[in-house]
């Protein structure tokens, strides 16, 4: 197991390195020159050249990469070109807000997903099962941005129960007013819940057919006890793996959801940076997001290996 984890860690380190080269390489060829963005519409070539010089954009690309990469390793993510402030704190603040939203959504996905999955499995082929199946099918078919807008329309504009976007004033020690989390969290939950509930349902069904469950039933244990103590415990193992993967998808979904709900998190920060061609900010945000994604995948791999000793040695078959 330790060898396997070490192997995976090594692979991740390599991937992160290649990724940093890729991120830097791609963004550095950005044609919409940041110096032009700073100088504005009246820019003349000499003004642009002066700004480029100041920013070190004339240095060879590998020098620029080294400057950036060594900084990142020291924990210095660079200086935002447009905002002229360190990228680190900017990202940290945005990430804290995204993490709160993602955390709430994650808990909802986990709890509701498992509950729905178990209910569907226990009431297999009933109306409830079908309803859950339709519900989750809708979840993966409706784009987050549309679902978000429908929620805003109903709960913020017509019913006026909840704010339509933003984060409000800090409350309860959080940087975000919890009321502002409800709609975006529902949106994310809806989009992701299908994974968890479907997998839980199928592994539940499998577990209920297994010998030990049959045996438990034969012993005359109450059905609810059988479900809870025997089937569920075994069925949840793959679900846990899928939850780790969902962290990655949450990160993808959050870019769109933050846009819909004007939520100033990491996704919005990235889009803001792209619009303004703020290289260091783009590079750092993508690197951070990709690192989180990789880590979530790593955890998923390790959990999977832990629960399925067969593949522990060597990589899973492709």
């Amino acid at each position: 197991m330790i060898t396997y984890v070490a192997q995976r860690l090594l692979a991740i380190a390599f991937i992160l390195f290649v990724m940093s080269v890729l991120i830097f390489g791609i963004t550095q060829v950005l044609p919409g020159n940041v110096a032009y963005m700073i100088a504005g519409q009246f820019a003349t070539p000499d003004v642009v050249a002066a700004i480029e010089n100041k920013l070190g954009l004339h240095d060879p690309i590998f020098v620029q990469y080294w400057r950036w990469a060594s900084g990142v390793l020291r924990g210095d993510l660079g200086q935002s070109l447009i905002m002229e402030r360190p990228v680190g704190p900017l990202i940290q603040e945005a990430m804290a807000r995204s993490a709160i939203l993602a955390g709430v959504a994650f808990i909802c996905v986990a709890v509701l997903g498992i509950v729905l999955g178990v209910v569907a499995a226990v009431r297999k082929d009933s109306a409830t099962d079908n309803a859950i199946s339709v519900f989750t099918y809708l979840g993966i078919s409706v784009p987050e941005f549309f679902w978000g807008i429908v929620l805003i329309l109903v709960f913020a504009r017509y019913l006026n129960w909840l704010p339509s976007g933003g984060i409000g004033d800090p409350a309860f020690g959080l940087p975000v007013d919890p009321r502002y989390l409800i709609l975006p969290a529902i949106t994310l939950t809806f989009a992701l819940i299908a994974h968890v509930s479907r997998l839980t349902r199928s592994s539940m069904l499998e577990a209920m057919r297994s010998n030990y469950v049959r045996f438990a039933r034969a012993k005359g244990l109450a059905e609810s006890l059988v479900v809870r103590r025997h089937a569920l415990r075994n069925a949840l193992l793959p679900t846990i793996t899928v939850l780790a993967i969902d962290v990655g998808f949450l990160i993808g979904g959050i870019v769109v959801v933050e846009t819909v709900f004007s939520y100033p998190g990491l996704g919005r920060l990235l889009l803001f940076a792209i619009e303004r061609h703020d290289l260091p900010l783009i590079q750092a945000s993508i690197l951070i997001i990709a690192t989180i994604y990789c880590t979530a995948n790593l955890i998923a791999d390790i959990l999977y290996a832990y629960f399925n000793p067969k593949i522990r040695y060597g990589r899973p078959a492709h």
Partner: protein
């Protein structure tokens, strides 16, 4: 984008878990939805009652009526006509990007599975790197470097979905290379190209087709998400993601502008998902046996 299915190593896509023996119905319903959609998209310029960019101030923000079934937007453009034309863009995005990922991914996967060795190793590590980006992030990274445009979004999405195609192709190829008829071709001295495309591919395509059909919905959803955040199709085009995005300021005064393309999008994705599920059940023997259990 809505959550893609899990394509992690060894994990069964959870869609498989719920499919019950309703195979023909899914295929039929999905097929009918998509069939109608494709016909509408193909005929859009002729059946749309107005030009998609025809503007009129007198008619702006009008609710649905006999003249404008889905109402008009802030420029007095007919929402129905725009939604119809938008179907073309969505399908183009989904199918175009998927084809691109097939064109790049299938030959690479075949070669990797057939050749093995260093080429395989390097390729698969490269794919690992690509897979280490959340899909939308890789799309944004590619689009961040250029001015956004529809065709660039298609290319970006195509690239995003190369790794899963490479993986599935490679794994099917790995199973096939040891088959006698491939060995025989090898002994006969057939060219690699011939073996890959004329011997292996014809036997490897069903799982690839299933994978590709799933990719189309992801590609459509990812494309819509990119357009929605301003990184895909550009105004005045009537891409659905863009239409919903542009309709946001009017969401309470004129909700029909957002609802029409949004619902069209949902219907499309549901249709393709159903079709893909049906296809998967028909083509993939593994699923079939599992479902019966």
């Amino acid at each position: 984008m809505a959550a893609p299915l899990i394509d992690q190593d060894g994990l069964e896509a959870p869609l498989a878990g719920v499919t019950r023996p309703r195979l023909p119905r899914k295929l039929v319903v999905g097929g009918v939805i998509i069939g109608i959609l494709v016909v509408l998209a193909a005929l859009a310029p002729w059946i749309a009652p107005y030009r998609f960019d025809e503007m009129s101030l007198l008619k702006r923000l009008k609710p649905p009526s006999a003249a404008h079934w889905f109402g008009t937007d802030e420029f007095g453009r007919d929402v129905l006509s725009r939604t119809l034309l938008g179907a073309r863009l969505s399908l183009l995005m989904g199918i175009g990007a998927t084809l691109l990922s097939l064109v790049i991914g299938v030959p690479l996967g075949l070669l990797a599975g057939y050749r093995r060795g260093r080429f395989d190793e390097v390729l698969m590590r490269t794919m690992d790197v690509l897979l280490s980006f959340p899909p939308i992030m890789l799309g944004l990274l590619i689009l961040a470097v250029t001015q956004p445009a529809l065709w660039k979004a298609i290319i970006a999405i195509g690239i995003v979905y190369v790794p899963p195609i490479v993986r599935i192709t490679r794994s099917v190829t790995l199973d096939l290379v040891n088959e006698e008829f491939i060995q025989a071709a090898h002994v006969r001295g057939d060219s690699t190209r011939y073996i890959l495309f004329s011997e292996i591919l014809p036997n490897a395509w069903p799982p690839i087709a299933v994978e590709a059909s799933l990719r189309i919905t992801f590609a459509i959803l990812l494309g819509a998400a990119l357009s929605f955040v301003g990184m895909g199709a550009q105004p005045p085009s009537s891409d659905w993601g863009l239409m919903v995005s542009e309709a946001r300021p009017f969401v309470d005064s004129a909700p029909w502008i957002a609802l029409a393309p949004g619902l069209a999008m949902c219907l499309t994705v549901i249709g393709i998902n159903l079709l893909g599920d049906g296809l998967r059940e028909t083509l993939d023997p593994r699923m079939r046996s599992q479902r019966g259990a």
